[in-house]
Each structure stands twice: as structure tokens, then as C-alpha cells.
Amino acid sequence: MNRVVAVLSRIGRLLPAYAVLYIGFLYLPILLLPLFSFNDSKILGFPLTGFTTKWYGSLAEQTALFDALKNSLIVAVVSAVVATSLGTLISRAITKHRFPLRRISQTLVMAPLVMPEIIIAISLLIVFLGIGIGTTLFTVILAHSLLTIPFCVSIMTSAFGQFDDALEEAAVDLGETSWGALRRVTLPVVSPGIISSLLISFTVSFDEFILAFFLSGNSPTLPVYIWSQVRFPAKLPNVIALGSLLILISILFLLVAERFRRRSERFTQQPE
């Protein structure tokens, strides 16, 4: 026991240094891709040989990439809208209403988050082929909406949960109908949450691989296209350049989403 105490108290003093090292460990992989993307060599390894932007330049020649990008954008935009709409409806119900099976609904809609994705993928594949609708971008959209609903529900329940009911009651007292109060008071106040939910679900869908891999048929999304390229060493520098751009886009989206989420918290905070 005394030895445990001695070791733990030593660890305690090193904690800040460890936390910084750990953050470095978290960022190492996503900083490495941009580093190699500017390296003037087909071999992805050290030592670095020189600076070039040619891997980015030659991305423009790959038409299959742009088709995949278009597919990914369609899927991510539609999934984000569908998941955010469905997520907003149920979040409003969960936070402001008491109804039968409320807890069961709440647990059920969070389920996609804890199910192994491969199980969701094969189950959907079996059903979609079984009922004869095949695999297309539409089936990827159905799957991605399912996967992103839990993210939208967590963001929107928090947005509605912090919303001060007195605002809506005041609007009704002042002569608004309950629909008018929802549209002109509640929705504007929770709108930063809605935007944050749209951006987060867009990002999740845009990066998702397994479901798209099983369900996209002949119209690959960007991650499925990247997967098909990873096997060819000659294509790797291009993949790395593309990957660096995608990481940059994801981080930009995330930063904007975070801004809106914070604004939503500030907007909806109840008076002390």
C-alpha cells in the first residue's frame, strides 16, 4: 500500500506534463498527413526529401474523385437535414412533454450510437436488398440519418432543456397562438442549436465509412473512394493530400459548430 501511495503521489506531480503529452499523442496522426502531403517523394516515410505542392495539383485530374465528392456532399447535406429535423421533433417532445413510452423512445433513438456499425451495415444491407430497393445513395442517406440522430438529439435536448418556458408563455399571454409562439420565439432562440446539429451531423456523415462501404452500391462516397485508393502505393501521395484537405474542412466545420453551440448556451441561459 505504501508503495502504491509513493508511486501515485509521484504521478500526481507529473500530471500537467502528462496531459500536454497526451494531447500531442491525440494530434500526432492528424498533423502527420499534412506534413507528408507536402513531401516531394512517393515513399511515405522519413527522411523527408523536399517541399512540393504537386500532390495537391494532380488531385484536379481525378474525375472519379469529384464524382465521389459530389456523392458525399449530397449524402451529408440530406442526412444532416433529415436527422436534425427528426432529432429536433423528438427532443422537443422529450424535454417539454410527458407522454407514454417517453423513456423507451429516448433510449431507442440513442441506440445507434452504441451498436457496432458492422451490425447496422449488414442488417440494412439484408433488408434493402430483400425488399428490392438495392443499394444507392438513397440507402446511404437512410443509414447516415439513423447514425446521426443520436448526435442531433443530444444537442437539441440540451438546447430545449436550457430554454426558458416563461418566454413562450409570455408570447402566448401577449396574444400569440401556440404555433406562433413556437415559430417566432422558441425556434429563433434554439436556432444556434439547430445549426450546430446540422454541422455536426454533416461532419459525421461526410466522414462515415462502414455504412457507406456496404450500402453505396455503384456510387461511392469520398471515404469509400479513398478506401479503394489506399491499396495502390502509387496513389498514396494523392490520398494523403486529399486527406489533409478533408481534415482541414472537418476542423473548420467543427469550429463553426462549436461557436453556434456556445451561442445557443448563452442565448437560452435562464436568468440567475
Partner: protein, 286 residues
């Protein structure tokens, strides 16, 4: 049953989403269960009830090995991720006074970038001329590059421990943040040193966070496909890779479905044992 207006409206608002998730989860999983009891005959599936697929899954050493290896790797990933993440969550909860939100945001950013690309990047880190070998050579620790860093189950464990980091930090942070600070002061007043009060107050009270983190990491990891496929090699292959083969090249969907469901049953059993173990630790510490 009569419902008031509030309840009717709530039900109306909740129904579309609940139905959507129910239709896309319950119905497909039901179909998968049915498939696992059918038989593949060339291009057709014979719909006669049989246990043959499950018998094959548990009799064939290849499938058995893959399932047990997947559970073992997931358990190791869970343990490593929680061990590595706990001190960071502790640091943010107790040492960071301002900017806690900024720290948490910093921890979650990498998670939002493409999982596929992050795993691929680990291939570059562990390669023969990768980051680890180059650093060790440069430091003079080794003379020749280590060529066994990639393509084994350890590479899979490290890569996944990285991928799941925020899922461990966030729940543990939440449980640490909730601890009433007066308990710690009381322990101090009663003459407990910082380490003893950690072991007897902080750690037991953070077990719910550890359980939450473990579940959210353990269950999906058993079904991971990308990491074993990219950095696992043949020694690090997991059950999801074989499920994909059955639904692809081998074209034996009933067997693939039986494999997937067997993995789910094993993972559920293992998860229950894990929670039980953690609860026992919690009780013995209190």
C-alpha cells in the same frame, strides 16, 4: 386510455423519429436473426430453419479464434484507453481552473476528423520508416528499424486506444466534476493524505464514469473493421473482417449473419462481466 393535450402533442412529436429508428434497427436486426438460421445455396437462400451456421461458427477454429480475439482486443483497448485517459480527465477536472471547456474541445477535435484517415496515419507512424522507428534511430535507442510494429494485434490496440480517447475522457471527466469537493476537504481534515483520499474518495466516486466509458468503447470496438484491415495484418484480423468476407467474396450471408450475432452475444456477455467486475472494485474501495 385518455391523454391530455400535453401528452398527445408529445406523442405526436416523438412518433416520427421513434418509428424511423425502430424501422431501421428492429426490422433489419430481425431479418438478420432470420437469415442466420437459413442456408446459402449458390445464389439463393433456402428458408428452412437450421442451427448449422451457429454450429459452424463455434466448431470451426478460425471463426472461434476471430470472435475471441475480437473480444480480447476490445477488452485490451478499453483498459488501455481508460488508463491513459483517466489522468487527463482528472487533470481537467481538478487542476484546470479556467478554460475547462477549451480543454474538452481540444480533446474532441481529432475525433471529428475522418476515422479512416486517422487509422491510415497510424500506418505511417508504425511503418518501418515511420515516426516511431525514425525517432528511435535518431535517439540512438536502436540500430536497425523494428519491423514488427505493424500488422499485429498490438498495433490494433494502440490505434483504437487513440481513436476512442474522447469517449473515455468525457464520461470520466463528468463523474469527477460531479464529486462534491467538501468530501475531499473532509478526508483532508480527517488526516488523509492526497493519495489516500484519491483512492478512498475520488476513485470510487468516479467508477460510474469508468463504467460509462468502458461500455461506449468496448461494444463498438468488437465490431471494428477499418483498424484491423489497415494495421492488423493476418494476426490482428477481427470478426468484422470475416463478416465482410461472408457478405462479399464468400457470398454466404447466413453464415455472415450468424457470425455477427454470435459476436453480439459474446460481447454482451463480456460487457456484463466487465460491469460486474467494476462494481465489485467500487464496493471494495468504499
Amino acid at each position: 386510455m385518455t391523454l391530455d393535450k400535453n401528452a398527445r402533442l408529445g406523442l405526436l412529436l416523438a412518433t416520427p423519429t421513434t418509428l424511423y429508428v425502430l424501422l431501421l434497427i428492429a426490422a433489419p436486426v430481425g431479418m438478420t436473426i432470420a437469415y442466420s438460421f437459413w442456408t446459402q445455396e449458390f445464389v439463393d437462400v433456402t428458408r428452412d430453419f437450421t442451427w448449422a451456421n451457429y454450429r459452424e461458427v463455434f466448431a470451426d477454429p478460425l471463426y472461434r479464434t476471430l470472435i475471441f480475439r475480437s473480444v480480447r482486443i476490445a477488452a485490451m483497448v478499453t483498459l488501455l484507453t481508460v488508463l491513459l485517459a483517466y489522468p487527463v480527465a482528472y487533470h481537467i477536472a481538478f487542476n484546470v481552473k479556467k478554460n475547462k471547456a477549451m480543454w474538452l474541445f481540444l480533446v474532441t477535435i481529432p475525433f471529428w476528423t475522418s476515422y479512416l484517415l486517422r487509422v491510415f496515419s497510424w500506418k505511417l507512424i508504425l511503418a518501418q520508416n515511420g515516426v516511431v522507428n525514425s525517432a528511435l534511430l535518431w535517439l540512438g535507442v536502436i540500430d536497425t528499424p523494428i519491423d514488427t510494429l505493424l500488422y499485429n494485434s498490438e498495433a490494433v490496440v494502440v490505434t483504437l486506444a487513440h481513436a476512442w480517447a474522447p469517449f473515455a475522457i468525457l464520461p470520466i471527466f463528468v463523474s469527477l466534476e460531479k464529486i462534491d469537493r467538501s468530501y475531499l476537504e473532509a478526508a483532508k481534515d480527517l488526516g488523509e493524505g492526497p493519495v489516500r483520499s484519491f483512492l478512498r474518495v475520488t476513485l470510487p466516486l468516479s467508477i460510474p464514469g469508468i463504467i460509462g466509458a468502458s461500455m461506449i468503447i468496448f461494444i463498438p470496438t468488437v465490431g471494428d473493421y477499418v483498424t484491423p484491415a489497415l494495421v492488423g495484418g493476418s494476426d490482428g484480423a477481427m470478426v468484422a473482417n470475416m463478416i465482410q468476407v461472408q457478405f462479399g467474396k464468400a457470398n454466404n450471408w447466413p453464415l455472415g449473419a450468424a457470425l455477427a450475432l454470435s459476436a453480439v452475444v459474446c460481447v454482451t456477455g463480456a460487457a456484463c462481466l466487465l460491469v460486474l467486475g467494476l462494481k465489485l472494485i467500487e464496493r471494495s474501495l468504499k
